[in-house]
Amino acid sequence: MSLLDVVDLRVTFSTPRGPVHAVDGVSFCVASGEVLGIVGESGSGKSVTLRAIPKLLHANAAVTGTVRWRGADLHTMPAEDLRRVRGGQIATVFQEPMSALNPVLPIGLQIDEVLTAHTTLDTAARRRRAVELLGLVGIASPTTRLDQFPHEFSGGMRQRAMIAIALAAAPALLLADEPTTALDVTIQDQILKLLLRLVADLGMSLVLVTHDLGVIAETCDRVAVMYAGRLCETGSVHNVFLRPQHAYTHALLRSMPGEGAARAMLVPIPGQPPRIDRPTAGCAFAPRCSFVEDLCTTTRPPLIDVAPQHRSACYAAARLPVRAA
C-alpha cells in the first residue's frame, strides 16, 4: 500500500474575476521511501497541489477528490488527528523562505514549537535537538543562531531554517516546494544530499517540486509532469526522460541543454501560457503543441497506462520521436 494516495484532486479558487481551476483532476501516489519529483511551468499548480494535501488552503479554495494518508482520508479526519499528521508525519517546506517564518519569534522557538507539538522531549533535549537540526542543514554556529530572529538571517539561511523546522519531528513524508531556490549551487547540493540521506537512512518519503530538470534527474525515483493544473505524465525518471510519452514532456526535455550540462533549468516553450480561468475542452497544451491533431482540441485526453508504471495523457504519445540518448 502506498503511503500517500491522491485521487482526482481538484482545487478551484473563487476570485473576483471568476473561478480559477488551479488543480484539475490530479492523481498520484507516493510509496514509503520514494522520491517523487513534480515539474511544470510557473502557474501549473504545483504549489497548490502540495498545499492541498495537508489541507492548508484557505476558504476561497474549493477542494474535491481524496487524499489518503496510510489509508485514512486526510480531508475528512477529525481536526485533532489532522493536526498530529501535519508536521509530525507530513512536513511541508514552503516555496517562499522570506515570508514563511514568523518575523517576531526567534528561530529557536520556531523549531522548538514543532518538537513541543509532536514529541515528549523536555526543554533541554528540545534545545539540543534544535541546535542539531540547524547544524544538519549547514548553518554555522547554530547555538547563537537559535536566539536570532528571521530578519537576522539571509534568504538562504531562512530557507535552511525552514527545512530544519520541517525535519524537526522526523516526518515520514516531506513535501518540499522548491526547497533550494534561494541557495547557491554548493549548498543546494548539500541540502539535496541531506534529504536523500534521510530518505536512505530513515526511509522518509519526499515529494520535491522543482523547475530544475537536472535536480529531478539526480534525486528522484519518479517524476510527475504538470501543465495547466493537470497531470500530463508520470513514470520513473529513467523512462520519462528517455522515452517521454507526452508532447509537453517531450518539448520540455528538448528545451533542456545537452547531457553535458550540470544543471538544466526549465526553458519556456514558445506560445501563450495556458489560461486556467477558462479551461479548454481538449488538451490544455494543444495550442502550443507541434503534434496536435483534431481530437486534441475537442476531447480531453485521459491519463492512461502507456507502459508498466508509466502513465500519460497524450493522443500523440505513439507518434513522438524517440530521444537520442
Binding site: 498545499r51 495537508p54 492548508l56 484557505h58 493536526r83 498530529r84 499528521v85 501535519r86 508536521g87 509530525g88 512536513a91 511541508t92 514552503f94 517562499e96 515570508s99 514563511a100 517564518l101 514568523n102 518575523p103 517576531v104 519569534l105 526567534p106 514549537e113 514543532v114 507539538a117 509532536h118 530572529f149 530578519h151 525552514m162 523546522i165 519531528a169
Partner: protein, 312 residues
C-alpha cells in the same frame, strides 16, 4: 544600533519632551484671558496690592527670568498654592491624580478584556453574523457620547437596580474599584470600540500570512497559532493606537468624573477652570502631559517587547 542604545535614546527623548511641555504650559498660562493677579484679588484690589502681589509672584521680572523661576519651581516641586482650596497644588494633585489613574487604568483593562477576545471572534467570522453583531454593538458604543452612556448606566445600574453607587470613591482599594466600575465602563466603551475595530482589521491582515499557514503546516495547536502567531503580530499595530488613545481617554475622564462625581483630576480641572484657579490649571496640565508621555514610553516598551525588529 543595539537595543540597549535604542532604549537609552528613547529614554533621553523624555528630557526635551518634558522641557517642551514646560514651555507650552508656561506660555499657555500667560495666554489665558485675564490677569492672574486680578483674578486672585478680584474686584477689591487696590493699585498698591496689585503691585505687591505682582512683585511677590515675580511677574514684574523679565519673561525669561519668569520662565527660569517657573522651571526651578517645577524641579523643586513648588508649584504654588491653589487659590480656591488654599493648599499646595502638589498636595491637591497627589490626592486626586491616583483616582484618575485608577479610573483610566480600569477603563483600559475593561476595554482590552472585552475588545481582544471579541476582535478574534469577529475576525474569525469575518462578514458572518457574529462579526456583524459585534461590529454593530461597538458602532453604537463608538457613536454614543460619554455623558449619555454614563447617564444611562447610572440610571439603570445605580438608580434602578441599585447594584452600584451613584457616585463617590470609597476608602479601601476594593471600594475604589466598586465605585469606579460604572465610570470605567463608561470611559472605556469608545476606547474598546476603537481597539476592537483596529485589532479585528490587524488580525484579518495577519491571519492569511504565509507564516500562519506554515504554523498550521507544523501541526501546532489552534491556541498556539492564534495567540503566538496571529495575536502577537496583530498587536504590534494596535499597541501604538492604544498609546495614542490615552490622551483622549484623559479627555473622556473629565466628563466621566463629572457625571459620576468621582473626585479625580478631571473634575478638579473643570472646577479650577471655572474658578480661574491658575496654579492648579498649570500644574494639572503639566501632570497630565507627563502622564501621557509616560504612557507613550510604556507603549514603546511594549512594542519593543512584541517586535524584535524595533530598535535594531
Amino acid at each position: 544600533m543595539s537595543r540597549g542604545a535604542w532604549l537609552l535614546a528613547r529614554l533621553a527623548q523624555i528630557v526635551p519632551t518634558f522641557l517642551l511641555i514646560g514651555i507650552a504650559v508656561f506660555v499657555l498660562a500667560r495666554l489665558l484671558p485675564g490677569n492672574a493677579v486680578m483674578a486672585m484679588l478680584g474686584e477689591r484690589g487696590t493699585d498698591e496690592m496689585v503691585a505687591r502681589l505682582t512683585a511677590s509672584l515675580g511677574l514684574d521680572k523679565s519673561i525669561f527670568a519668569q520662565f527660569v523661576a517657573f522651571l526651578e519651581g517645577v524641579a523643586s516641586g513648588r508649584l504654588g498654592d491653589s487659590l480656591a482650596f488654599r493648599i499646595p497644588v502638589t498636595r491637591l494633585i497627589a490626592e486626586r491624580l491616583p483616582v484618575t489613574m485608577l479610573l483610566t487604568g480600569l477603563a483600559v483593562a475593561f476595554a482590552l478584556a472585552a475588545a481582544v477576545p471579541l476582535a478574534f471572534v469577529a475576525a474569525l467570522n469575518a462578514n458572518r453574523w457574529p462579526d456583524l453583531l459585534i461590529r454593530a454593538i461597538f458602532q453604537v458604543g463608538l457613536s454614543s457620547p460619554i455623558f449619555y452612556v454614563g447617564l444611562v448606566l447610572l440610571t439603570v445600574f445605580a438608580a434602578w437596580l441599585r447594584l452600584f453607587p451613584v457616585g463617590g470613591y470609597g476608602d479601601t482599594m476594593w471600594e475604589h474599584i466598586y465605585h469606579l466600575f460604572l465610570p470605567a465602563i463608561t470611559l472605556g466603551l469608545s476606547f474598546a470600540a476603537i481597539v476592537m475595530r483596529n485589532l479585528r482589521a490587524a488580525i484579518l491582515g495577519v491571519i492569511n500570512a504565509e507564516y500562519v499557514d506554515f504554523a498550521r503546516a507544523k501541526g501546532l495547536r489552534g491556541s498556539v497559532i492564534l495567540l503566538r502567531h496571529v495575536l502577537r503580530n496583530a498587536l504590534i499595530a494596535t499597541v501604538t493606537l492604544v498609546g495614542l488613545e490615552i490622551g483622549s481617554l484623559l479627555g473622556g475622564a473629565v466628563i466621566t468624573e463629572t457625571v459620576f462625581a468621582v473626585p479625580g483630576v478631571g473634575r478638579l480641572m473643570v472646577d479650577s477652570i471655572f474658578a480661574r484657579d491658575y496654579p492648579v490649571i498649570q500644574a494639572l496640565t503639566l501632570a497630565l502631559a507627563v502622564f501621557v508621555s509616560l504612557a507613550f514610553l510604556l507603549t514603546d516598551l511594549v512594542q519593543m517587547w512584541l517586535d524584535p525588529r524595533v530598535g535594531r
